[in-house]
Symmetry: C2
Subunit: 433 residues, 2 copies
């Protein structure tokens, strides 16, 4: 089909949804994709350009001229346009901006480009419906109609004063039933949630979820209305946040995908592995320090991987619960209570697991003394691992570090080393080698 | 403040947002919370009831009479009402339903209660604005106005025929500019995305995200319009999905929170730990089988925790990348290509790590022969662990099992055992003990 048969292709894509076009483009070679972008109407391809994979997008953008990119940008809302232009070099950004036909649109996009991606400013769009509190109802309806043309979805109508300071919001229903003589300030609702342009994206996501908002206005420090953020952008923030935690738990340092290059994948995977390697070597030298036990109690060495694995697993479980509690902001009670609870929990789990390992040890015909040593150590290791797992994320969080780091191989490695050291120390005390 | 000073409390809460009320209630004892629910206007508390913690909600509901619950339900949209009632016993459900004043509301809720929570039917609300394709424009505007009263947010207007079959959607703008003589079928847009009432919640979430929809109509197998799903419900689905993956990666089997009881926490944590215990014991007996090496090459035993940990980490990293690729549905290319790439990647990482461990081993003054053995085994273990990590989630996915299981302790435990077995087998081949 991709044999450059223009008309057939145009007809074929005429009815397709942009998200589906994006999927097709993901499957194509870069040349074919670029050809398709030039051929199809920019109204369709502009949206598709947002939906395709980041790497593919970069490659296609590098093949299109600044003028062609500007044509695509013309079709996009300011927030999407800024995201798209933001991925270009500074030089190309300026050329593209100067090629945009609508001057106001270009100015809005240039403004959005100044804000950090991870803030409310980086998420917001300039498109919104706002009315002046001094307008009369008929005047307002007339002006709103022209504003609404540019806004894909209206969501909310914001009320500002003459200085563009956010004063409240307006319900469409109230507007429709209001007498023609009323001014907007008489029928507007003064209570309105808003965020500051410098607020963190996660904070915006939290507020919008908590109050179940579909859009929220963004203001500067003097309460001037700058833009608005809609729920679809927040869905992306939530997903990225969740993915970041998951990747950290799995020991990946970068946002990578299965189809990234081997270099990118190595960069994401190697750092934690190197950490694990040093941890493992440290564990090895600790065990080397207890080599007197080798002759009489070789079983201890057979069971170290088990002790290390249990310490790691228990630590990660404890951390994950705390990390989620911190994210949902629903941790209650004092630190002392938490410690007491975590110790009780570890004791319950530990005793149960120790009984199993004791029975298994006897089944494998290990000496009774060794089995008791392993069981007792296991209980103590589990208690300590769960305390480390609980308090490390709490401390990280207090220091302003993402607590999800704790669920990654970092805690596991630490607990491995701790666990092995404790295991052999207790064994030495009990067995006296 | 909670000394039952009714009027003060009512005034205090008058201006509070329901989500904030919910937060306050979470902090209160059950008696105080129940008292508050009885005191405050059900318009406020109904929404708050949805926002509070599940366990607290169950306890408060058990203290309120069926009639009191019905009053709360009256204030809620059908989807929220069904969720709330759904947590009660069947017997109480029926009493509450019969206590709801508005008969249509009760009937709608009873219908929603039939659907499985994880399907489109379980997510949808009955509140929507629909118009008949045969209506004229003025008739439509009149009828819409009365429907819109009951719907918090309009989002979309759906067009149906006389048999309630979904025919398309209507843009408010088109309706406003249409001549009075036009019928709805002339100005409606026939292209409309929809989902079946039995579609899985995750599938609905995927479609709504892909096409960037804020609401989607739900139909039965004969295309009768049954309800609609809005983006805020989808946000919850996405979050739960992400949390489930994260918890599985951390080795938790249930959705638990830090403040749950020790029994609930144990239930969520113990299963994977027991698995790990059996895995560790298996590893111990494998090592026991190679005990001839103890005399001459004790260093091998010092390094087993390292080998096991590296096998585990590499496996989880590979799995996590595949799990995310499956979730985003962006895995391309053949299995053979993927295998080739994974082996190359493991080789790059493995050789690099092997060089480090070789140098560290020499630093610790281990015999050259032992260091080479450890390094070579490490490379092979990493290759095998990454293949296991890549293909196990793919196989699970094909069998209809959630591939995220693979990132949990299951893969780690398997890789531990594999890794240790491979390590000693290679060591025996090289060192010949």
């Amino acid at each position: 089909i991709e044999r450059r048969d223009d008309q057939v292709i145009i007809d074929l894509f005429a009815e397709e949804h942009t998200a589906d076009i994006a999927e097709i483009i993901d499957e194509l070679s870069n040349d074919d994709a670029t050809y398709l972008f030039r051929l199809l109407d920019s109204e369709k391809t502009a949206e598709a350009l947002l939906d395709i994979d980041e790497d593919d997008r970069a490659r296609i953008l590098s093949k299109l001229s600044e003028k062609e990119i500007a044509e695509h940008i013309d079709e996009l809302d300011t927030d999407d346009a800024a995201d798209l232009i933001g991925s270009l070099s500074n030089e190309r950004q300026n050329i593209v901006l100067s090629n945009i036909e609508d001057g106001d649109h270009a100015k809005d996009i240039a403004e959005l480009l100044q804000y950090d991606e991870d803030t409310a400013g980086g998420l917001m769009a300039k498109e919104l419906v706002k009315v002046n509190e001094n307008w009369t109802v008929p005047n307002c309806v007339r002006k709103m109609r022209s504003q609404a043309q540019e806004v894909t979805r209206v969501h909310s109508i914001y009320v500002v004063d003459n200085k563009n300071v956010l004063k409240g919001r307006l319900s469409l229903k109230d507007l429709l039933v209001a007498p023609a003589s009323a001014t907007i300030s008489e029928i507007s609702i003064p209570k309105v949630d808003f965020v500051n342009v410098n607020d963190k994206a996660e904070e915006v996501a939290r507020i919008m979820q908590k109050y179940d908002l579909e859009a929220i206005p963004v203001v500067d420090s003097e309460n001037h209305l700058l833009g608005r953020i809609t729920i679809d952008d927040i869905v992306d923030v939530i997903k990225e946040e969740a993915e970041k935690d998951y990747q950290m738990a799995a020991g990946l340092t970068d946002d990578v995908e299965a189809d990234d290059s081997i270099i990118d994948l190595t960069k994401a995977r190697l750092p934690w592995l190197v950490l694990g390697l040093f941890g493992g070597t440290a564990a090895a030298s600790i065990m080397g320090g207890f080599d007197e036990a080798l002759k009489n109690y070789p079983e201890l060495f057979f069971f170290t991987p088990l002790i290390a694995a249990m310490a790691g697993n228990v630590g990660v479980q404890s951390s994950a619960i705390i990390v989620q509690g911190l994210a949902k902001d629903n941790l209650r009670g004092s630190l002392l209570n938490r410690m007491f609870k975590e110790i009780s929990l570890a004791l319950v789990n530990g005793v149960f697991l120790a009984l199993i390992v004791f029975s298994l040890g006897l089944l494998l015909k290990y000496p009774m003394k060794v089995c008791s040593t392993i069981s007792i150590s296991l209980i103590i290791v589990i208690i300590i691992a769960s305390l480390v797992g609980t308090f490390v994320p709490l401390i990280l969080h207090k220091k302003g570090i993402d607590p999800a780091v704790a669920t990654g191989p970092f805690i596991t490695t630490c607990n491995d080393i701790f666990g092995i050291f404790i295991f052999f120390t207790i064994a030495k005390l009990i067995l006296g080698f």
